[in-house]
Symmetry: D2
Subunit: 316 residues, 4 copies
């Protein structure tokens, strides 16, 4: 006797979907249209959002620039510290195989097209897993990027931002740019250069950095000003590289609350959150601006703040 | 060029340790002794804890009953929602193979013995992974329990508590005893019965339940009193089973803060924690006592509250 | 040159309003009516609330029983730990004189009547200040209650609840029923008896207790079970008195978050809130129910929980 | 029958202490000395703090510069939003009379001298109450400052900082420098000039500003950049005035958490704290530095951060 979960698992689990150009991941779902008269029962339609409707001289689409987050919608498998991966999706068997990575990309672009958005947002490591060496990581990424490029050309969809994930691999547990191990900082720089090149290649409107693991576990055992200088130096290099290569998009930096920075001690979040001294240097909008101003970077970077997250940044 | 992390990975990663009874996981580490005169430089010794020293008519060991948490020290691999497994341990290659599970158990008992504790604490699923079916899960567990029993007999070490993990598998994403899918509740009951039988078999001093996923996402879409009745009914069954089989230990229930209950939406923790309506019914000591009293279970269960966690329970 | 604040102060500050039965505190304001067609510009009217409109067999007024809080609307003068009284009201010059107390009551009933509510809520000490002795406090209260009774009869307005303020006077800084000084507990009992008698006299629908100062500053220096027994004993006496005198309303107990309990160290709220050990025994709905059940009082008391405060109670 | 509180009140309450130069507020208490051998029972002595002991080339006194906060120790009467003034002190009968203000100053200097500190910290309005006009406020202040100056000369004690209280009077409920009423901003400037002149007169080591009421209730109804410009403009004026008059001390600005800024709606703290949008512009160290840098004031002001408050500032 199976639980619903296992039933679903059975349905998908076995199949190695043979994905062709014509394979449909969302059969029966057609383009999501604007239907102002739709009732509460109607689904898969926009009742209020009309992309081409002009408001104060611009279309809604131009104002909102809706984008789908690849990680939230396709890469993230639904695990947390207490739970195994909880999402079951037809494109996700053997999730770390290159085949699966490509299946995921195809599913995503079908989704984007049917939803009618022109933008997506994605981190490098959401597209392909970390390889055993940097080279291997790059090769795998390049192979999937070729497919992404082809699908972008076919659909006209572009990254609203392309980001560099310097926080998921254990290597970055103690930070990337501020990591006490110089090898790690160098590794981060190399990964970042590659991500930036891809961002340009894909015509991303913005390039995103999120120092989710930068920071200190305890101010007593860290040289905070020095770490901030190192972080700023890293940002400076990115800014110089951008100018040198004439990237016309913006560099974005995403502030994040202190607690987000915890790595593999998230249970302590529950025990010691209140008195925890762990912190980041760019934990909210003002602190990030302060960091940028102090190192003369306020013209090079813009803030990436989620709508409705400003309170969090002020209070987290 | 490798980062330190990769160097360590290389050292261990490749090797399939051939584990024999005589294999030592912590070579060069001998029994940790009480050495009151030890200096700050000396490590691997107790400067204050003297197990056999009598205080008010009992030995320190009898007062404290120190125990090692198997999950924290051996099973947990250091991942969080933003990060890959970060711990690298010789017993952890291919962590889900039965061989690895046994290696881990051997390493743990070597650790317990050298540390000189008489107790450990463990959840069923920390010992072996979830199988594809309930039967498979049981078979794997039985095989490892045989080894555990052998090592317990050899060392005289026992579980301070043996717990039932009804929160890690996606099946329990919406609760175990309070899951809207009756199949899941039945599944949880079967797993719990098995775990209880093992607790008795291993001579555990206590049997622990932790409803980490019980609760509601939004009080508007749940029938709270009914869910609490279902939860209490589950607890009642466990208590009856205990009496029927004459388990002489205690039944423990561990309260947990609201936020702990979040499953695969932990990012929302950051966006909506403040206004999140997600909650548990046993989120602190008083609410758990209230739940137990209301259903006449206060004599059957004792609370399991971590030292120093009471504030958390009051404030989380 | 005066600031606006001082201008207003000048306007009111000097005048000793000669209050007669016919004196109007809100001249030009007539009865607030239901006007569904009112535009956003229209004020002093109800656009949605229609007291006499029947919904599922009851009028809106019967469902909602809207009431005005006397303290929030009339007694509280707008001070906080960092600020002087900030409210300037014509009925508030010499706020502690009996004349001012009566002016305030007249203003309130004019307000209730024009608003069209049938209920108000009030604590004993919101009506008259603390006297130097218990007797003096009672005499002043009686004099104002006579006026209240007269105005209630004239308007048909009643207390939705009448409460006993056992938290404002420094005497109660360390609790009323749980105060280590038996004299204070006795004093609280006497004040409570008087308040209860008035509640019956005024035909209050409920009698409210709010243990805003009960609790401990640090669990290390308090005998918590004993304090809870003392608190329960106090509640028991109130319940017995109610039965003896045949009060037909309900006894209400209002849970309150930990932080609310702080007395004259509220700045520490900012420094030590996170790690503060100060706490109450009835800090949320579940803990209050637990307290009541444990002492067999769950049939005698109902909870008074503000709408929308349940989250607070769970999280405060 | 009196409670302890009333007994104490009786003892002090009636007496109008005739204060002479020789009057002693702390009879029987002599100079608090350094007594390293003191036992746990001994009180009124320093067991670890030895003012004249040299550590790394400085005396402890030079390192720590201990100071007594006048407001916490003498002016504040122990009220909070839920409670009447709770402190009973011989120098506090008729606390708003000039006589009481002088008694308080004499008591404070006796206390400072016996404690052996060389510094105190004080806000202008802690010394004398707000007068009905600015002129009156100044006259009262001048009269008390004459006594302060005399006592400072006699004891050699100086202000570690002298501050300007722009947050207690209702006039400042919506901010001082950022108040929408220009009269209030002008009033604040005049009060600040006076306070600064006194700081110089008393030889204060620092002059403190704390924008406890600056900020917004809701970002939707405020022009934040403009308010920040107004705040910065105010700070600029203070800095210019300092340079012009050659004050050799530092200008300090004290960041404060969001919640501190609430004025007479502190109960809402409990209902809406989580989702409250009220905020300050200088709510922690980084945001204050950002504000200063953005307006080119980082060389004019130093931060005043309480030890141990940095976490608060980051998290409040």
């Amino acid at each position: 006797m199976y639980t619903q979960h296992q039933k679903r698992q059975k349905t998908y689990g076995g199949r190695q979907t043979p994905v062709t150009d014509s394979y449909e991941f969302f059969p029966g779902v057609t383009r999501v249209e604007y239907r102002p008269g739709a009732s509460a029962e109607d689904s898969l339609c926009f009742r209020h959002y009309n992309p081409s409707e002009r408001v104060h001289g611009r279309t809604m689409e131009e104002w909102f620039r809706p984008a789908v987050s690849y990680w939230h919608a396709f890469s993230y498998q639904g695990l947390d510290r207490y739970g195994m991966p909880a999402f079951i999706r037809p494109w996700d068997e053997a999730p770390n195989s290159l085949e699966a990575c490509k299946r995921r990309v195809r599913a995503a672009f079908e989704f984007f097209s049917k939803l009618g958005v022109r933008y997506w947002t994605v981190f490098d490591r959401d597209l392909t897993p970390e390889g055993y060496t940097l080279e291997e990581s790059f090769q795998q990424l390049d192979e999937v990027i070729d497919l992404v490029q082809e699908l972008q050309q076919r659909t006209g969809i572009k990254p609203l931002w392309f980001g560099c994930n310097l926080f998921s691999h254990p290597r970055y547990a103690n930070g990337a740019a501020t990591n006490p191990d110089a090898h790690v900082a160098a590794y981060a720089a190399a990964q970042c250069k590659k991500a930036f090149d891809i961002a340009m290649k894909l015509g991303a409107e913005n390039f995103l950095l999120w120092g989710a693991r930068e920071g200190y576990h305890n101010p007593m055992v860290a040289d905070l000003p020095r770490e901030m200088r190192n972080y700023a130096k890293f940002l400076k290099i990115v800014a110089d590289y951008k100018d040198k290569h004439g990237f016309r998009g913006n560099l974005l930096i995403r502030p994040g609350p202190h607690r987000e920075s915890r790595f593999y001690n998230s249970e302590h979040r529950y025990e010691s959150e209140d008195c925890d001294t762990f912190g980041r240097y760019d934990y909210d909008a003002m602190s990030t601006l302060c960091l940028l101003k102090h190192h003369g970077l306020e013209r090079q970077f813009k803030l990436h703040v989620y709508p409705g997250r400003d309170h969090l940044f002020a209070s987290a």
